[in-house]
């Protein structure tokens, strides 16, 4: 197993108190697997992804463990995580492409970053030059400033930087969101290629867009209100989902080819529960058309078929 997360819980401090956007989350990602982490607003997916790399001031590790390549990952201690960052586990945060320092040329940016991780420039810079061409950018991109590049180019640069040291695990948070459709496809294919070439052993791709995951991911995990709802291989999840949330979500996505006069799509009524005051039991039960009395107790996230995990009483029955 490349990554094993076991009953991980992270709390987040807000003005109205502590909320728990990651609540007893357990999953694993195999070597060479691209796992998609899907969820809507308030699901906690970004917090989950970020917590595997660092905890910012507002986050607190409540419990659970993370193992990477068989070794314990000290995510609760930011300082202890330093030797792991960029080398074992790497994160592309949301809006990363807007966060490149505009006062430095790209080459200098990368050099500074590597130096701060204790890596000598020369060995990695030749590798950098090789990889630049691979992602379809010209060599002179390195000598430009970030604001001279288009959105797609900047996103490729961030992808490049975060995989330069060949981490075991790459976590990509909404890397395709702000991009045009054609660039989205190029970036998505790039993620697959990085995995194929071994620039990163496994990937966790976080997004709200299930369609992108259908193209890119090997397995998809759906998160709702801080808990995992379902995890399965991509084909199974898309074609035969078991969790009502996944089913309703898929049913609300219009595809090219669907028109309102031929197909009636409906959304999911209501909205996700506030994490500050979550309901007891299954968090989806207020919006779930199949809810019954058992749903007032928390359904366990368990394997109902090989490789297919669901947290639902109805599905487990």
């Amino acid at each position: 197993m490349s990554v094993r997360v076991d009953h991980l819980s992270i709390a987040y401090r807000t003005r109205s108190g502590d909320v728990c956007p990651v609540d007893q989350v357990s999953f694993s990602v195999a070597d060479g697997e691209i796992m998609g982490l899907a969820g809507e607003s308030g699901s906690g997916k970004s917090t989950l992804g970020t917590s595997l790399v660092y905890l910012d001031m507002r986050m607190k590790h409540l419990g659970g463990s993370v193992e990477l390549d068989g070794r314990h990952l000290p995510i609760d201690d930011n300082r202890a995580m330093r030797p792991y960052r960029m080398k074992q586990v790497s994160l592309i945060p949301q809006y990363a492409m807007s966060a490149l320092n505009p006062t430095r040329r790209i080459r200098r940016l990368i050099a500074d970053l590597l130096r701060s991780h204790g890596v000598r420039d020369r060995e990695v810079m030749t590798e950098l030059n090789r990889r630049i061409a691979l992602v379809g950018l010209d060599q002179d991109v390195l000598d430009r400033y970030s604001f001279e590049l288009s959105g797609g180019m900047r996103q490729r640069v961030t992808l490049l930087i975060s995989t330069l040291l060949n981490p075991s695990l790459l976590i990509a948070d909404e890397v395709t969101s702000a991009l045009d459709v054609s660039t989205q496809r190029a970036v998505g294919e790039l993620l697959i290629e990085f995995r194929d070439r071994g620039f990163s052993k496994s990937l966790i791709v976080i997004t709200h867009d299930l369609a992108i995951l259908a193209q890119v991911a090997d397995t998809i995990t759906v998160m709702y209100a801080g808990r995992l709802a379902e995890k399965a291989s991509t084909g199974t999840l898309i074609e035969a989902p078991l969790h009502p949330y996944t089913q309703l979500l898929l049913a609300s996505l219009p595809e090219v080819g669907a028109r309102h006069d031929q197909v009636t799509l409906t959304g999911i009524p209501g909205r996700p529960p506030s994490l500050a005051n979550p309901p007891d039991g299954c968090r989806f039960r207020d919006r779930c058309p199949f809810a019954f009395d058992r749903c007032t107790t928390v359904p366990p996230f368990e394997e109902v078929a090989p490789g297919h995990f669901v947290a639902c009483w109805k599905a487990a029955a």
Partner: protein, 333 residues
């Protein structure tokens, strides 16, 4: 259908602050019609000029040249009372639902904004009835939203409230600029269904989006914009079913679908085009040349050039018919 709004050779140029004295053409001689009671989708990626066009129609920005004709009159001449009259019939809803609200006030102040200009003499109870009717038309429970502050409402509720505001007036045309892109996928389709029910009641909608599947779901006609120029337009089913312009084909192959992988879509597109798929500014794959994977071909497309001034002022390629109600910009053979 008679044309409700006609966009006629509209261009918008921005001066850049470069020393080269360049101009950036946000729009180049864009022309199309919006018939009454129909949904016209304006599809474009970033930099296509679609938002600029929406703002020009809403008179929030002025066009550099060309005209926008509403009910036979040029809207650029409107001022004061005539402009207010225009806004009685043409309204807009924008992308970020939260930004449309002034955070200092309650959410329903957006209704009050309309009242002073358009219903100054309407007595209180009748105004209240009007608001409640508009809220019910957008499937909002008045008790849930009246008296609340914007941050207490969800994104979906905020957008619906803004649509309700437009319905208070006599709108004939609603400009919807990416109104669902900041909403969760599970609530998106409900807003779209709402737009469709409004269209059935006679409202024309200019639906601006970058999302092809949404455009296909709601619209009757589609206009595809690229870098300020129309490359293809016509009846939605026709344009999506038989895309002729390489850019349109490119877009369609790049859209991620749930049940089909990208590679297969590529193959379909190649078959449909007769065996020579080309990116608009990528390397040509001459027939008989070594096969390159689409991924590599796509990569050769960068970096994108910004147009020079001379290019900015050139007339765009003319639109030629390509099918029933279907126009395509001429491409070099």
């Amino acid at each position: 259908m008679t044309s409700l709004l006609r966009i006629d050779q509209v261009s918008k140029l921005y001066r850049t602050s470069n020393f080269g004295g360049g101009v950036v053409p946000a729009l180049r001689r864009v022309s199309f019609d919006i018939p009454g009671g129909e949904v016209v989708t304006l599809i474009g990626e970033s930099g296509s000029g679609k938002t600029t066009l929406g703002r020009i129609v809403l008179r929030l920005t002025a066009a550099s040249s060309g005209q926008v004709i509403f009910s036979g009159q040029d809207i650029s001449a409107f001022a004061g009372p005539r402009l207010r009259e225009y806004y009685r019939q043409v309204q807009g809803v924008f992308q970020d639902p939260f930004s449309s609200y002034n955070p200092v006030y309650r959410a329903d102040r957006v209704f009050e904004l309309v009242r002073t200009s358009y219903f100054p003499h309407l007595p209180g109870p009748q105004w209240r009835d009007k608001i409640e009717a508009a809220l019910r038309a957008v499937a909002l429970n008045p008790a849930d939203v009246l008296g609340r502050y914007p941050h207490q409402l969800s994104g979906g509720q905020q957008q619906r409230l803004l649509i309700a505001r437009a319905l208070l007036l006599d709108v004939k045309l609603l400009v919807a600029d990416e109104i669902t892109s900041m909403l969760d996928a599970s609530t998106r389709v409900d807003i779209l269904n709402l737009l469709i029910s409004l269209k059935r009641a006679g409202l024309a909608i200019l639906f601006i989006t970058h999302d092809l599947s949404l455009g296909h779901y709601v619209s009757d006609r589609t206009v595809i914009l690229r870098r300020g120029v129309i490359v293809e337009m016509g009846d939605t089913v026709e344009v999506f079913g038989h895309p002729r312009h390489p850019y349109t084909r490119n877009l369609l192959t790049a859209v991620p679908e749930l049940h089909k992988k990208w590679r297969r879509l590529d193959a379909e597109a190649t078959a449909d085009a007769g065996g020579a798929a080309r990116g608009p500014d990528g390397p040509d794959r001459a027939a008989g040349g070594p096969p390159t994977s689409p991924a590599v071909a796509r990569r050769g497309r960068w970096p994108a050039r910004t147009p020079r001034a001379a290019e900015a002022l050139e007339p765009p390629p003319p639109l030629v018919p390509a099918g029933p109600g279907h126009l395509v910009a001429e491409t070099d053979p």
